[in-house]
């Protein structure tokens, strides 16, 4: 185990800038035990999920609500372990991987300013074990870069409740990206925003994802959003969550808004829609 970490050629900074890590899920399953303890009464949230994500790829996951999308993301993030199967990030295990997670909403720390929130991951030992490298100056400089990348320059010293929902999600994205993640995981990050702000952030995310060049897994219930943003869209079925089909969106990213009226997009959307709503 230890040896594996040592020989990992891409450990550390360069890997992220080289386009994030690959991700392999093999026969992944996750059960939640029944709270009352009845044997066999638990819930099979995910079953037999096989998926290989190339470094730098943008994957979207769609499916009906309760189909295990969020569970899948939490497994990839190492926040919970799979009941069956294995998950490999790069050449190592999930718990060694550097993952940036963007939650649905309300996950900024209200006692931290925008800049301090973005710096959160940088202050942790998991990110940089050498204390000498975690100096205030270095952390702040890096956080400032990210604040700029997501277009929040000038708002560094604001507290989360003083900025709009769209700006909060920008800050969330900056926080996740600050640690130069091998994997960027996003759980319906724009679902709580109004339509206009959502569209604006979708365009921004395209730019930022290409610029940060990391591997992204993006969970959403919005088929259009998934097809617009992703290289491939994974369609899940519900209970137990299984992969029904993986759709390819060949047009190169970043894509213009016009992509959303292209034949490719509309064809894929009809296909995805019928897949999601068939059962």
């Amino acid at each position: 185990m230890c040896a594996e970490v040592v020989v990992r050629p891409s450990a550390g900074e360069p890997r992220a800038s080289l386009g994030g890590a690959g991700l392999t899920l093999a026969a992944v399953g996750k059960d939640f035990p029944d709270r009352s303890g009845t044997p066999g009464g638990g819930l099979v949230a995910l079953d037999g999920v096989d998926l290989t994500v190339r470094p730098g790829e943008f994957i979207a996951v769609v499916g009906p609500s309760g189909c295990g999308k969020t569970t899948l993301l939490r497994l990839i993030a190492g926040m919970t372990g799979p009941t069956r199967g294995s998950i490999v990030v790069g050449a190592g295990e999930v718990r060694d991987a550097r993952t940036g997670f963007v939650f649905q909403h309300a996950s900024l720390y209200p006692w931290r300013t925008v800049l301090q929130n973005v710096a959160f991951g940088l202050e942790l030992r998991a990110r940089e074990p050498r204390r000498s490298r975690r100096t205030r100056g270095a952390v702040r400089a890096r956080a400032r870069e990210l604040v700029e990348l997501v277009g929040l320059a000038g708002f560094e010293s604001y507290f989360p409740h003083q900025i709009s929902g769209g700006m909060q999600q920008r800050a969330n994205l900056a926080r996740a990206l600050a640690i130069a993640p091998e994997l960027l995981l996003m759980d319906e990050p724009f679902s709580a925003l109004d339509a206009q702000t959502r569209e604006e952030l979708q365009i921004e995310l395209q730019r930022i994802a290409v610029e940060a060049n990391t591997t992204t897994v993006f969970v959403t219930h919005d088929i259009g959003e998934a097809l617009y943003l992703a290289d491939r869209v994974v369609v899940l079925t519900g209970r137990p969550g299984r992969i029904k089909e993986v759709l390819e969106c060949p047009t190169a990213r970043p894509r213009s808004l016009a992509y959303q009226v292209s034949e490719e997009f509309l064809g894929l959307r009809d296909r995805a829609w019928s897949l999601v709503h068939r059962d």
Partner: protein, 272 residues
């Protein structure tokens, strides 16, 4: 950025409104207290009630001057403050640390919760004689009684602070693979801080009760001693001097805690 100005304008205007509201509130409070004192003075002088039973405010001020001039008052006040300070500091530190640990470690909580709740419900002041038997009449026993009184509100409020942490805040820490100490210092503690301050404010009141009661069970100095001796020697004015000083201490300490809260939790300013 134009948006920056419009955004920062709103909270600032709100802050101005609030500070105006606070100032009005202060004035109404001052007028109310002065009016009450004037009424008290008038009633006492009109009814001719003995100052042994109810001394007029002017008599209390007079007694205050005498006690202050003789130096006894400062000795009593200093003694009580030292005892209170030591006890309160111990209770604050232990209460916060223990509350955070209880909130984060399930089994510590299961094991300690019945004790904490039972001891909180116990009128622990009734045990004061016991502590005096164990620790003597000196500084240690007094500080211990203050600490015991002040500890529980701090623990219980810190614990509910940890319980109130949003699940997302902890999820973020988990997703960044924060260690247990980092979760503690960077999430649990700052997130629970407003609750911790509430606990500390409640603890001030209980700690002051502890001071007085501890003095009642034997002391040569202290505000409780001043009150007790005043009552025994029929110097009712001294009883009032001691009580009013204690009330003033409570108000001042609470105000200081509010100030500290405002300094350390600036994000809560706009919420309040």
């Amino acid at each position: 950025m134009a948006a920056a100005e419009t955004l920062s304008e709103a909270p600032r205007a709100a802050a101005r409104r609030r500070s105006r509201g606070r100032r009005t509130g202060t004035w109404v409070g001052v007028v109310s207290v002065l009016g009450g004192l004037a009424l008290w003075e008038t009633v006492v002088s009109l009814s001719g009630v003995s100052s042994l039973i109810l001394p007029a405010p002017s008599k209390i001020v007079e007694a205050f001057g005498e006690l202050a001039a003789s130096g006894d008052l400062w000795l009593d006040l200093g003694t009580s403050l030292r005892q209170f300070g030591a006890g309160f500091a111990i209770a604050g530190v232990l209460g916060v640390v223990f509350g955070l640990v209880m909130g984060q470690a399930r089994y510590v909580r299961y094991a300690s919760e019945p004790w904490v709740l039972a001891l909180y419900a116990t009128p622990s002041i009734g045990l004061a004689p016991l502590f005096i038997i164990w620790l003597g009449f000196g500084f240690q026993a007094k500080a211990f009684i203050v600490a015991l009184m002040a500890f529980f509100p701090v623990v219980i409020n810190t614990l509910s602070g940890v319980e109130s942490l949003a699940r997302e805040w902890l999820d973020v820490a988990t997703s960044f693979k924060a260690g247990p100490v980092e979760r503690f210092l960077k999430v649990a503690f700052p997130g629970a801080l407003p609750y911790i301050f509430t606990g500390l404010r409640l603890a001030v009141g209980r700690g002051l009760v502890g001071i007085v009661v501890a003095d009642f069970f034997g002391a040569q100095q202290g505000l409780g001693f001043l009150i007790l001796q005043g009552a025994q020697r029929f110097r009712t004015t001294d009883v009032f001097v001691g009580t009013i000083l204690l009330a003033a201490l409570g108000v001042i300490l609470t105000a200081l805690l509010r100030l500290a809260e405002r300094k350390t939790c600036p994000w809560r300013l706009d919420v309040r």
